[in-house]
């Protein structure tokens, strides 16, 4: 173990510079400003991830945000275990009929101000699963959505630039719609 630690200390870190902040995302996020929210949140965001019916591909790439290459916590963004601690709900999947109520309840359990980020092509409109008897639709069919991150699944870089845009928006005192 010490060998590995020593080698990692002696070589340059693998962590990469952040990707550019997504311009599209900045446009999608409303430009309304609320200084009180800024004071409350400071320079950090707590994310609660909710799989509302995903194929688990999106989850794999969200997980990757924690690996040493992306190291998302250096931006003050971290994943939390309860919606009660969350500012952001990161929702994946077409929302299945069997998960719609759980998603609604998790949304209700999240304190204001809160943002919902619909992640992956399925979360946009149900993706390839749209039209199934067991699928309600995209995330916005169940809870209000502030930002969409496209991709099947979105790569960690795409996720990161979307989330950094959200962070910038929040830093400027942006409020959810």
């Amino acid at each position: 173990m010490w060998k590995l630690i020593a080698r990692n200390l002696l070589t340059a870190p693998v962590t990469e510079p952040p990707p550019p902040v997504s311009r599209e995302a900045l446009v999608e996020l409303a430009a309304q400003v609320d200084k009180a929210a800024r004071a409350r949140l400071g320079r950090s965001l707590s994310i609660r991830q909710i799989d509302a019916g995903s194929c688990n591909g999106c989850e794999l790439e969200i997980h990757a945000l924690n690996n040493p290459f992306y190291d998302i916590e250096r931006f003050g963004i971290r994943f939390v275990a309860s919606p009660r601690h969350a500012d952001v709900l990161l929702v994946t999947g077409p929302v299945t009929a069997n998960m719609a109520e759980a998603l609604q309840r998790t949304y209700a359990a999240t304190p204001d101000p809160k943002w919902v980020v619909a992640t992956g092509d399925c979360a946009l409109d149900g993706g390839l699963f749209a039209g199934s008897y067991a699928v309600v639709g995209g995330v916005s069919a169940v809870v209000p959505v502030d930002l969409h991150i496209r991709g099947c699944p979105p790569s960690p870089t795409q996720l990161l630039s979307g989330l950094l845009a959200l962070l910038e928006h929040v830093e400027r005192g942006g409020v959810p719609r």
Partner: protein, 505 residues
């Protein structure tokens, strides 16, 4: 009484009770009447034949049964025009949840099933059965000081949804009951009527972590049904992708297991190695998870020489780093203390459920679909199937590490075979217009994925069924945790790593 071989037993059944179905490839399918079905159940009580799948289809219930003696796999179909059939659940517990799913999705009822509660149907679909919306009756537990801990469907981590109902006495788990179905997306219904080329995209999204295995299983079933011959280079590229997927998942999960025992260093190291594999996949095949790269008839992308060189380098680095990971793991008594003797799944249970993948192989079940029934190109490649006996978390970790080793060897061999003059060879055969039925068994990282397809003449899917290895692994997690402490559940669960989406369909 010594049970006869499965094939021999079928041949000796009275000819009036069964008949062979033509154009089902590559394994036979037989139609069984009620008498033959009853005989089958009686035989399953004494023979060691394994249940590999059970699915509904209009008015017919199908089972895939395998004789571990000679490896014969057959599909037995029992027409039930009155929508009811005699359950296999009493003799093969692995059938119970599959029968509940057949009742939910096809209204085919096992009239004497040991458990007839709804399973995938939570009473929230238009087509839901009436009683499915009643509160789910969890099995009761009585006793002094027994308390319940309900967990899910929304969990604390970045994982898929499912509900775990723990009954505990102090710290000790007395009973765990799992309820699944939350991510049921109706995939099989969506597939019906689609051209095989569209349906394969859905197949590759049944369980995203096994997208290669699923696309391969589905494509192989389609090719079997239509009689298509896949070009040799495509066969090798498919195996290359499948091994990369196995490597990425094994590395990721070994790290995640260490993380659940609060050992962050291995998590970081394994997460890094997984990322290197995904980046190589992106470089070589244009998608980090290699989604939509395998299609019926062949593959959608070729590997260029630059990509092959990058993979060769990657494999060398992974081999070195794997040794470090193993050394660290073995030198940490505090970590070994968490994994050793934890979450034991006995050989007997594994056998009874025909649990595949590292769950089975960690407890003596020596089965790997790449060897048996086997499929190209693995018959021409040298590799071993590691098997352990004890069935605890440690054994499952060890198996996965040993499988990484084997996969690295397979990637090396495949790269060698794929090298050579970069002639523009064909990568995708056109599907012949023939209709038919096909079955395929493919070894994903988690275990054997079974795909069954009925194809119309225009290469359209009439009916498809895909059975995730998790069907036979999820029930075992309930046994694994019994008598363990609640705090060890994440570790046990991660060491099995069932797929929710793959199971829920």
């Amino acid at each position: 009484m010594a049970a006869p071989a499965l094939g021999e037993w079928i041949q000796n059944l009275p000819g009036t009770n069964w008949e062979a179905v033509p154009a089902h490839r590559p394994v036979p399918r037989h139609v069984f009447d009620a008498a033959a079905w009853n005989d089958l159940i009686a035989m399953l009580a004494v023979a060691d034949w394994e249940l590999f799948g059970l699915w509904g289809d209009d008015d017919t219930i199908h089972v895939a049964v395998r004789d571990p003696g000679d490896g014969l796999l057959v599909v037995l179909s029992h027409p039930c025009p009155d929508k009811s059939f005699q359950s296999l659940g009493h003799v093969r517990p692995g059938a119970i949840r599959l029968e509940r799913a057949a009742a939910d999705l096809h209204a085919l009822i096992s009239f004497d099933g040991p458990d007839r509660r709804p399973w995938l149907d939570h009473g929230r679909w238009e087509r839901s059965r009436l009683f499915a919306s009643a509160p789910y009756p969890f099995l009761p537990v009585d006793g002094d000081g027994v308390h319940q801990i309900p967990v899910g469907p929304v969990h604390a981590g970045i994982i898929e949804p499912g509900h775990f109902r723990f009954h505990c006495n102090g710290e000790t788990v007395v009973r765990l009951e799992v309820r699944l179905g939350y991510v049921h997306k109706g995939v099989e219904t969506l597939m019906a009527g689609q051209p095989a080329f569209d349906a394969v995209k859905l197949a590759g999204r049944i369980s995203g972590d096994s997208t290669v295995a699923y696309a391969l299983a589905f494509s192989r079933a389609v090719e079997a049904a239509s009689g298509a011959a896949v070009p040799a280079r495509a066969v090798e590229l498919r195996a290359l992708m499948a091994e990369l997927e196995r490597l990425a998942n094994h590395f990721g999960d070994v790290g995640a297991i260490a993380n659940d025992a609060a050992f962050a260093l291995l998590h970081a190291e394994c997460g890094r190695l997984r990322e290197l594999i995904l980046r190589a996949a992106e470089r070589c095949f244009g998608h980090r998870l290699m989604m939509d790269r395998i299609v019926p008839g062949g593959v959608a992308v070729d590997l260029d020489t630059g990509g092959a060189d990058a993979l060769a380098e990657l494999v060398d680095e992974l081999a070195v780093r794997l040794r470090h990971v193993v050394d660290i793991y073995n030198a940490k008594p505090s970590l070994l203390d968490r994994t050793t003797n934890t979450g034991i799944i006995s050989a007997e249970l594994v056998q009874r459920f025909a649990a595949g993948g590292f769950v089975g192989r960690a407890a003596s079940r020596d089965f790997d679909a790449r060897k048996q029934p086997g499929y190209p190109p693995y018959d021409a490649l040298a590799f071993e199937v590691p098997v352990r006996r004890y069935g605890d978390v440690h054994s499952r970790v060890t198996i996965r590490v040993e499988e990484i080793d084997q996969s690295l060897g397979l990637v090396r061999q495949l790269l060698e075979r794929l090298a050579g003059p970069a002639a523009r060879t064909e990568l995708r055969a056109t599907l012949p217009a023939g209709s038919g039925e096909g079955l395929a068994l493919v070894e994903g990282f988690r275990g054997d994925v079974l795909a069954w397809v009925r194809l119309g003449g225009d290469a359209r899917v009439i009916r498809a069924h895909l059975r995730d290895p998790s069907w036979f692994q999820w029930p075992l997690i309930e046994a694994a945790i019994e008598g363990n402490i609640v705090a060890d559940f994440p570790l046990c669960n991660k060491s099995v790593n069932g797929s929710y989406s793959g199971h829920d369909l």
